[in-house]
Amino acid sequence: MRKTLLLILGILAMSGLSAGCGKDSPNTLTVLNYGKYIESEVLDMFEEETGIKVEYEEYITPENMYTKYKAGAIDYDLICTSDYMIEKLISEGEVLEMDYSHIPLSENLDKAYFDFSKSFDPQNKYTLPYFFGTVGILYNKEMVDESKAASWDVLWDKEYAGKIIMADSVRDSFMVAQKRLGYSLNITDDGQLREAQNLLIEQKPLVYSYLVDEAQDEMIAENAAMAVVYSGEAGLALEYNDKLAFSVPKEGSNMWIDSWFMPKSAKHIENAEKFLNFLCRKDIARLNFDYVYYATPNNRVKESLDKKLQENTTVFPPTETLENCEVFKSLDDEATMRYNLYWKEIKSAD
């Protein structure tokens, strides 16, 4: 018995050693990004041009990203995520300052979006904007009247029972109810939060499914009448099926900015800067724009688009829409717990 134990310990120790001196090749870059959020060709081009090997990973919601990062199993060099989650990570001291002089092409980005970013990165020290947009209703014009789709109320309309797709993401779903009630989307008051929760529970029997990335596909396949989606997904869906349309309801919505940042775990800062610079290059940013189809803060890309697309209000939200929108703020631990618990109760309600 003792021999067996020794054997186990010996082999464990050996495997521990080999893991310790395992892969740490200097010329790699580990990137964590949302799903469907980069043209895969771009990664190949970057590897070819610089010889840096990119290890690319994806996640679904910002909360998933937080878990992946915090688990600490992988040392990410570069992460792209949304405003409120970056704010949370900055406040936890998990984000490294960015030296913009090493990313000369960041000049291509419109200063206006650095100003927007101040809501979560007050001194513009930590982040580089990637894409931005709003949240709204993607609907099928043959099933839903345009005037109805101008309000969040339509998501509670019994006429569309079983044909509504909601967002499968805590804050995005709560946002819809909060805006319908006329509240801020950053409320922490328990009473108001319960009100929003009740509204979402009331809505549940009408919901076809709760989805994030697949909502767009379901709408293109005409499996549902309307879906709560991010503006860029709507823009892309419109290209595939011209019965679809997009509206940002009049009660207001969420405006979000997804940005890149270097987490404390970053081991290859120079490579990360090269990658960011590469992403800001006009041809590369254009490739990404064509694939992702969210509003790009890159002026060079916007200029290169044809007039019709530049004026497409689904892809590029007009200023009056943006003024009616709010940016998510990071919530404290107690409020986050409450949101999560209430969300779980919605998901388990009948």
């Binding site: 186990i8 082999i11 464990l12 495997s15 499914s209 709760y210 388990s348």
Partner: protein, 273 residues
């Protein structure tokens, strides 16, 4: 000397068990009984009494039970039919049953999602035939349906194995002594296949109880099983302590169901065939 060599042979397996079964289990137990700051606490485990968690546990038990019963009801007659066939066609049919398992389990669920969706293949066909559409996607029915589809081979094969091992002589002897078909079925075939039934039940019930991928993909986010609650605790809420606490409760249910089945199985011989 021979002893040592034998132990060496078991080395890889022991290492595997230690690294991938024992160690993770100990970690789950550690997380389950501590708070985020590392203090001892029973809160994570006792949180199963929260209505939300209790509700999903009950739903999981219900769906797993339904899945197991349907699998049993389908498999037993099937195994009997298989057993009656010529040995050549037996092999073919067993092969057909195993064939879908060559394809990834996730892909098969995703395929069902496509097939069952509002404008999917099944509903289009029903529409052409003038029949009402099948509206089960994103409901518990779809989840049970797909679990049955996935786990059916795990029920069929052990029952079939047990049945194939029954000697023809035994049945002939019973006939000689004047037993009718019904008597033969209940007095001979059922008791002799009980071990297969029991391992089938365990192999279906346990994965069905702990499943979360099927309900995630076919439940449309509306069917919250205990597996989903645990997944959400880990992935969404970054609360590993809660996730582990609930996992421990689930483990108790799994172990209890296996122990119950094993106790029954001992009456009719070994459990796992």
């Amino acid at each position: 000397m021979r002893n040592l060599r034998r132990q060496l042979l078991a080395g890889p397996y022991i290492l595997w068990m230690a690294g991938f079964i024992l160690l993770p289990t100990l970690m789950i137990l550690y997380y389950a009984f501590t708070t985020t700051s590392g203090h001892f606490s029973l809160l994570n485990v006792s949180s199963i009494t929260f209505s939300v968690h209790l509700k999903s546990l009950v739903l999981s038990l219900k769906l797993a039970l339904a899945c197991t019963l349907i699998c049993l009801a389908l498999s037993y007659p099937l195994a009997m039919i298989l057993n009656k066939l010529k040995s050549k066609s037996q092999g073919l049919i067993v092969f057909i049953f195993i064939l879908p398992m060559w394809m990834n389990f996730m892909l098969r669920i995703l395929a069902w999602r496509m097939l069952l969706s509002n404008n999917g293949v099944i509903n289009s066909l029903l529409g052409i035939l003038g029949l009402p559409g099948l509206d089960i996607l994103n409901t518990p029915k779809a989840v049970v349906f797909c679990m049955v589809y996935d786990f059916l081979p795990f029920m069929v094969l052990p029952i079939y194995n047990a049945m194939a091992r029954i000697q023809k002589d035994v049945i002939e002897a019973a006939k000689d002594l004047g037993a009718g078909n019904v008597t033969i079925f209940f007095k001979i075939i059922v008791p002799l296949t009980m071990s297969g039934v029991i391992s089938g039940i365990i192999m279906v019930f346990v994965p069905a109880l702990t499943s979360f991928a099927v309900s995630d993909l076919l439940g449309g986010g509306k069917v919250l099983l205990i597996g989903n609650v645990i997944e959400q605790a880990f992935m969404q809420e970054y609360n590993w302590n809660l996730g582990s606490g609930l996992s421990v409760v689930l483990m108790v249910f799994v172990i209890a169901s296996m122990a119950l089945m094993n106790a029954r199985g001992d009456e009719g011989g070994g459990t796992f065939t």
